[in-house]
């Protein structure tokens, strides 16, 4: 009985320390961060069009496409396809994504398609694609928007992020926002 009462009292004390004091300190400190701890937003003409970290659906041909998503880029949830590497239905899906890319991108060779553009991400909200995945879409985007291909290519190059450690990447939303501003 004595042990139980000690346990109850200790639990209450620790709840105050760990579930009130600690998180509130971090929340207050987080106000000083970019985005204030609410998540960093991207706005166009003062209107929020998305979060920098959260990918969104791009399937119109005039935009650069992001990765396939198992949750349809619905950020009220998250998750991957959880398809195993040998699953025949999954392999069919990948094939049809390859076919879609070949159909929409004039002159694209199969061997140029990077894996990240035909496989679903882990979160279903991946905001990035590999630089190669952006590059193979330049021709399509430039043709539809009647822009100079070189101009679009230099825009893509300007959006390649190359961190000290980890893979190179392109944030699809930022790229597309910049693309809309390109005239």
């Amino acid at each position: 009985m004595k042990t139980l009462i000690q346990s109850i009292r200790l639990t209450l004390v620790l709840i105050v320390l760990l579930c009130v004091i600690y998180p509130v300190i971090i929340t207050l400190a987080g106000k000083l961060s970019k985005g204030g701890g609410d998540g960093e937003k991207i706005a166009v003409n003062g209107k929020v069009v998305g979060y920098a970290a959260i990918g969104q659906k791009f399937d119109k041909p005039q935009y650069f496409w992001g990765r396939p998503s198992a949750v349809g880029y619905n950020a009220a949830g998250s998750g991957g396809s959880n398809k195993g590497p040998s699953n025949p239905d999954y392999l069919k899906d990948v094939k049809s994504r390859i076919d879609t890319l070949l159909k929409y991108n004039p002159g694209l060779q199969k061997s140029e398609i990077p894996a990240d553009l035909v496989t679903a991400s882990g979160s279903g909200l991946d905001p990035d694609i590999s630089p190669e995945s952006a590059k193979i879409q330049i021709k399509r985007v430039a043709q539809i928007r009647k822009l100079d291909e070189a101009k679009v290519a230099s825009l893509v190059n300007a959006h390649i992020e190359a961190p000290l450690f980890g893979p190179k990447k392109v944030n699809v939303l930022k790229l597309n926002v910049a693309l809309d501003e390109l005239k």
């Binding site: 000690q6 200790l10 639990t11 620790l14 320390l17 760990l18 579930c19 600690y22 971090i26 929340t27 106000k31 961060s33 204030g36 701890g37 609410d38 998540g39 960093e40 166009v44 069009v49 998305g50 979060y51 970290a53 959260i54 990918g55 791009f58 935009y63 880029y73 619905n74 950020a75 009220a76 949830g77 998250s78 998750g79 991957g80 396809s81 398809k83 195993g84 590497p85 699953n87 999954y90 392999l91 390859i98 061997s111 398609i113 990077p114 894996a115 035909v118 496989t119 991400s121 882990g122 979160s123 909200l125 991946d126 961190p163 450690f165 980890g166 893979p167 990447k169 939303l173 809309d180």
Partner: protein
């Protein structure tokens, strides 16, 4: 070398640079020697006073375990009811519902046990209140429970003959105030300044560039993600865990999280050696564990970087490696590195979906969890290793025809029986669970349950079997990761895994504590020429061999039916 491989290497070096000094510090701190964190003493004394605890009361192993079990049982009751009625409590901006009884049962056992298997999704299954007041609270306390139990064992092994394992409350509280909380603050700050959300704002809504209406789940996640890794817990804020871009926004946070989950397991191994004043033993164990880790890690990285052979046959460019279930900002190398560490140290958080990794990667992930003592979870990794050591001592004793000894105490029938039972428990729980679920799947596929058993699996064939095997392995190892395609959010899975989680947690803690307590009571025998020395490379190799043989004998048939069969079926 490319920036992905240097990223892994840098992560590992930083882990060692933090983990090694941390081990020395922990040994000193728990031994009660002078350390700079003594400035926190007034806070600790306040905690003891408010709780009516005397932190200097000696405890024998039974009293020690009683304190541990009472407070853990209390948390189970508290959490179970709060999870069920969370919809009636504050801090629920998204209006999420209360949990069903079976889901609350599974969730609370899972978090008390430091397992963090999640049969709900963070965005919709829990509230900000339960995320913090139950789940994050247990992130701290379950890790501290494991560490405190390990320190009790250290104390028993250090003293020549004693009944005293030290004071459970003392170890437990100091694990929080002098290790988990300060480091969590540092990690949470790194995360929030890199884009992880930390405010209490609820869901947001915006119209995307293409004109779709999108809802975004948010919340005070940085606080929880910090301790989720540091305490080798693994239960994340969002459904996609650390693959979620708000939970793990960039490569810096990815490195932070992967380093955070390794430092305490490494430190505890070295702390063992320093604490019992046989630092060579600590380093030998460290060596064995590191070799074991590399044997799982190198083939994992190579199989993920190699990509999916079935996709390679379609003729596209897979130079970056296998990408299904992975994030571009993290990449396959760091995802593979993480997948090995998260399975060996029982964190179970993921930065990519394990269900979609290559067949052989699944094999290494499963083995990591089955062995569960290549560093292992906070505190419990060392305890699991002690069990293997007792078996190794016993077998070596038989080989040379001497009474086995460990650290100056005779290892006799009672201790070996306990060790054998704990060793046999894991394969029993994992294989019996998998056998029952396979049987139900095959024979009662159309049973009229909420989820029909025939709809459990997300993948056909060998991989489907692996999904079930993985779920029980992860439960028993208190890992908490999953082949998440498995339809586990129903009463069958919640109840069976819940029971395995709780047995797989507490018996492997009670066993080593009891062994240590029993050994410490015996007469101390000074070392002589005839003593089998346990701090040698030879004995390290012996223990390693015992680990491999025991696990191969226990699990090879099941592994052959799952990942190994899948691997060979894909070689065409």
């Amino acid at each position: 070398m490319n920036s992905e491989l240097t990223g892994i290497l840098a992560s590992f070096i930083i882990t060692l640079l933090i983990g090694i000094p941390l081990g020395k510090y922990l040994a000193k701190m728990f031994a009660g020697e002078k350390v700079w964190t003594d400035i926190l003493k007034p806070i600790e004394n306040g905690i003891y006073k408010l709780s009516g605890i005397n932190p200097n009361e000696p405890m024998d192993w039974k009293r020690f375990l009683k304190a541990m079990m009472v407070i853990n049982s209390l948390w189970i009751v508290y959490g179970f009811f709060v999870l069920m009625y969370q919809d009636k409590l504050p801090l629920n901006p998204d209006g999420n519902a209360g949990m069903s009884a079976d889901l609350a049962f599974n969730t609370i056992l899972s978090f008390v046990a430091n397992c963090n298997l999640q049969h709900y999704s963070g965005e919709s299954g829990v509230t900000y209140f339960t995320q913090h007041f139950i789940l994050m609270f247990l992130h701290f306390t379950s890790a501290a429970t494991g560490i405190a139990a390990a320190v009790g064992v250290f104390k028993a092994f250090r003293d020549k003959t004693t009944n005293d394992l030290g004071n459970f409350w003392n170890y437990f509280v100091r694990s929080i105030t002098r290790l988990l909380l300060p480091l969590s603050i540092v990690i949470a700050l790194i995360l929030t300044f890199n884009g992880t959300t930390s405010s209490y704002e609820g869901k947001d809504q915006f119209i995307s560039l293409q004109g779709d209406t999108v809802h975004v789940s948010r919340g005070p996640a940085a606080q929880m993600i910090a301790i989720k890794h540091l305490g080798t817990n693994g239960g994340g804020w969002f459904g996609a865990n650390s693959a979620h871009p708000l939970e793990n926004p960039n490569y810096v946070t990815n490195m932070t999280e992967i380093i955070a989950q390794m430092i305490i397991p490494i430190a505890m191994v070295l702390a063992f050696g320093y604490f019992i004043r046989r630092k060579k033993l600590g380093w030998v164990i460290f060596g064995v564990m590191t070799i074991g880790m590399l044997m799982l890690m190198i083939p994992t990285i190579s199989s993920e970087l190699g990509g999916n052979p079935a996709i390679a046959r379609m003729g596209i460019s897979q130079t970056s490696g296998a990408m299904e279930g992975k994030e571009v900002r993290i990449g396959p190398a760091a995802t593979a590195y993480w997948s090995t560490l998260t399975t060996i140290v029982s964190t179970g958080s993921v930065n990519g979906m394990h269900d979609s990794t290559m067949a052989l990667t699944g094999l290494w992930q499963l083995l990591g969890m089955m062995i569960n003592s290549f560093f292992g979870g906070c505190g419990v990794g060392v305890l699991n290793y002690v069990i293997y050591v007792i078996i190794a001592v016993f077998i070596s004793g038989l080989m040379v025809g001497r009474t086995p000894e460990f650290l100056g105490h005779k290892v006799e029938a009672r201790e070996v029986k306990i060790a054998a039972l704990v060793t046999l428990l894991s394969p029993f729980l994992i294989l019996a669970g998998t056998a029952i679920s396979s049987y139900v799947f095959n024979h009662y596929g159309n049973a009229d349950w909420a989820t029909k058993p025939s709809a459990w699996l997300n993948n056909p064939g060998y991989h489907g079997f692996s999904e079930m095997l993985y779920e029980y392995t992860s439960s028993n190892a208190n890992n908490g990761s999953g082949f998440e395609g498995l339809g586990d959010g129903n009463i069958f899975w919640s109840v069976t895994t819940g029971l395995i989680i709780i047995l797989g947690r507490f018996l492997p803690i009670i066993g080593p504590v009891a062994i240590a307590g029993l050994l410490a009571q015996k007469k101390f025998i000074p070392e002589s020429a005839g003593t089998l020395r346990t701090d040698t490379v030879t004995f390290g190799a012996m223990t390693f061999a015992v680990i491999i043989v025991l696990n191969a004998l226990s699990y090879f048939p099941a592994l052959a039916l799952g990942p190994i069969a899948e691997y060979f079926s894909m070689l065409k």
